[in-house]
Symmetry: C2
Subunit: 384 residues, 2 copies
């Protein structure tokens, strides 16, 4: 068991699995003690159309942080932040992140800049500059495609703009580790991908999502290293339908499986050795096969396990949803959904992540190295 | 995995394991989907002396309950309620309990009437009449010694008064299942206990606590049954020091392991057969040895497993606390504690339940029938 402790700051819903409800149980299953700050207390996620509850105010957050500090209970060496609905609350989180970083130099902070998806913001726009200011505090960020565009103000439409966005995150905002999950496999991206990373030939564009992990060595620009970062990537089959909380689960698993210390033995990212994960060892999860051992970074190791487990949980959820009565799984249809609110609610309810049913997946029980979706190194990323 | 769902309504603390933090993770480990209502959001439990955060108002609770109901998300067939700080909030919980009971006839409701301990109330006194009114809704209650006295207005000082208190809970308040844990082994109790239930001769009075489970057949007074209930009991070694959240963990485990349906095959409590626990089977937990099979009730089966696992978690916590540096485990001393607030805080911090570290205990991994503290039947309870 790792003697590690995570402070998790995100939303709480009574029913279902998004935010903290999607993150905390998996982290506990993987052996972490988790201190849990709820940034909202809502009945359910907003996708249901109706919800009840309240947002935690900045004053309330400060009161909790203040008492934790007074009592010497800010003992976490890891920090995970997710959905924070407004700038005032985010200021409070920024203060606590600064405080933790000051006290614990080796703080591992996974910042998920939850702001929106597919071109639509679902937080107040005044959080955007605060997130930009917070980026240098983060060890890892896990934005989606849209959030990368919002943070960097780069519209990503080809390899050059993707490189530019990553360069901004690494160089301007000093984020050592960036994972962008769920990238649509646009033609320009498919054309640039090296064969080992391409999805199987038989499958079509729409059936896969692309996940990219980009790591610098964490110590800033390395003059001996020709590129801004090492990039790993994988294509993951896309399941039909929209499932909430997937990003929250994925981020939690990336943090859980991220073990940077081994790589610190070497100063250059290119000589980074594979991290040995005490949690994995304990729960009998696999080590990467020898041919991959030298090519994985701590980030791509963590993201590979997170991708594998998240996809397995999603598959289980999808199967469970398929076994529901037909009227509980009507496809999305804005017109019909508007006429009958319960139509949407039933669909949402059936698509809540099967985290409890799939806890053995989370724990890595029976997971062999062959079954892990190891990310491949994209050597020529910065040259393409 | 059971397709069962629990609505848990209790306190939330950021740091440590009391209330929902002590109950939800174990329930999830045992395969339950848990809907989680936080009655407070505090930084830590009150034993630390200082805390920050807020109580959830009745209006906020109603807003969450209302949205859950509107969205068809009140799907739980089990209900667990714990610490609710005031009467207004408790009214809201009473309304939701009534609603669930109406919709789900077979609702299993474990009501832990959290009010105080060792002669001291730690909720507003106006909750007492509300709890009395709610008792008939409950399937199981898990009061401590003091809470039994408060609810029944009987001062328990001998067998007659203990019988009277239980009679009031079963007959006047129609509670079918009562578990009283952590009863001090007073001389009059020791004198009344049948030998199989007595603690080992070598041990002294102060080193054991007594736990009692009393079940009627749930269908009200049974004219064919000579006694108001069947009583089971066990003595459990007491660990030095005070640990918070133990009652919350115990109650959650009683609910998790309670499977009444098997016993419904028989109409009289005296012919109750041993429940088969799907969770136990899955997690390879033991069935009771054949000689006990006929004597256990669903309640004493659940309480036996709950006692066993709670005690094992406590032992693990105690060992972890012993391994801390000396200044982190200074014994309680009101005078010294008042002079140095951190003295108390450090002790409290070191005594937080080792739930994450002990999750295999919760799951029952490797637990053999021999290692379970099976409660013994106290046949002559009502005659003594």
């Amino acid at each position: 068991m790792p003697h590690e402790r995570i402070l998790s700051i995100q939303s709480h819903v009574v029913f279902g699995y998004v935010g903290g409800k999607a993150a905390v149980f998996p982290l506990q299953c993987l052996g972490y003690n988790v201190d849990v700050i709820n940034t909202v207390n809502f009945s359910n996620h907003s996708g249901y159309g109706r919800m009840g509850g309240t947002k935690t105010t900045a004053t309330e957050l400060d009161a909790m942080f203040g008492a934790l500090q007074q009592n010497g209970l800010l003992m976490s060496n890891r920090l995970l932040t997710g959905y924070i609905p407004g700038a005032e609350a985010l200021f409070a989180v920024e203060r606590i992140a600064n405080k933790l970083k000051k006290e614990e130099q080796c703080l591992i902070y996974l910042l998920d800049p939850v702001m929106g998806d597919a071109g639509k913001l679902y937080v107040a726009p005044d959080v955007i500059p605060v997130y930009r200011r917070m980026l240098p505090l983060a060890s890892i960020i896990t934005p989606n495609w849209f959030e990368v565009e919002v943070l960097t103000e780069v519209s990503i439409k080809d390899m050059a703009s993707l490189q530019q966005a990553l360069r901004i995150l690494h160089a301007k905002y000093h984020v050592p580790n960036v994972v962008i999950s769920s990238i649509p496999l646009k033609p320009w991206l498919l054309a640039a991908l090296p064969p080992p990373i391409l999805p199987p030939i038989s499958s079509e564009e729409s059936e896969h999502l692309f996940c990219l992990a980009s790591s610098t060595n964490g110590a800033g620009e390395d003059p001996g290293c020709p590129h801004p970062s090492r990039v790993h990537a994988a294509c993951v089959p896309l399941l039909p339908g929209y499932f909430s909380g997937v990003g929250d689960l994925f981020s939690a698993l990336v943090l859980a499986h991220f073990h940077p210390h081994i790589s610190n033995q070497s100063s250059s990212p290119s000589s980074t050795t594979t991290p040995i994960d005490p949690v994995e060892q304990r729960s009998q999860s696999p080590r990467p096969p020898p041919k991959l051992t030298s090519s994985l970074t701590p980030l791509s190791y963590a993201a590979s396990l997170a991708l594998t487990k998240t996809h397995a949980i999603l598959s289980k959820t999808y199967e469970q949803a398929l076994s529901l009565p037909e009227d509980e799984r009507q496809p999305s249809d804005d017109e019909l959904d508007a006429k009958d609110l319960m139509r949407k609610v039933k669909r949402m309810r059936g698509r809540e992540l099967a985290l409890v049913e799939g806890q053995d997946i989370i724990r890595g029980i029976g997971l062999n190295a062959d079954a892990v979706r190891w990310m491949g190194e994209w050597d020529a990323f910065w040259e393409s």
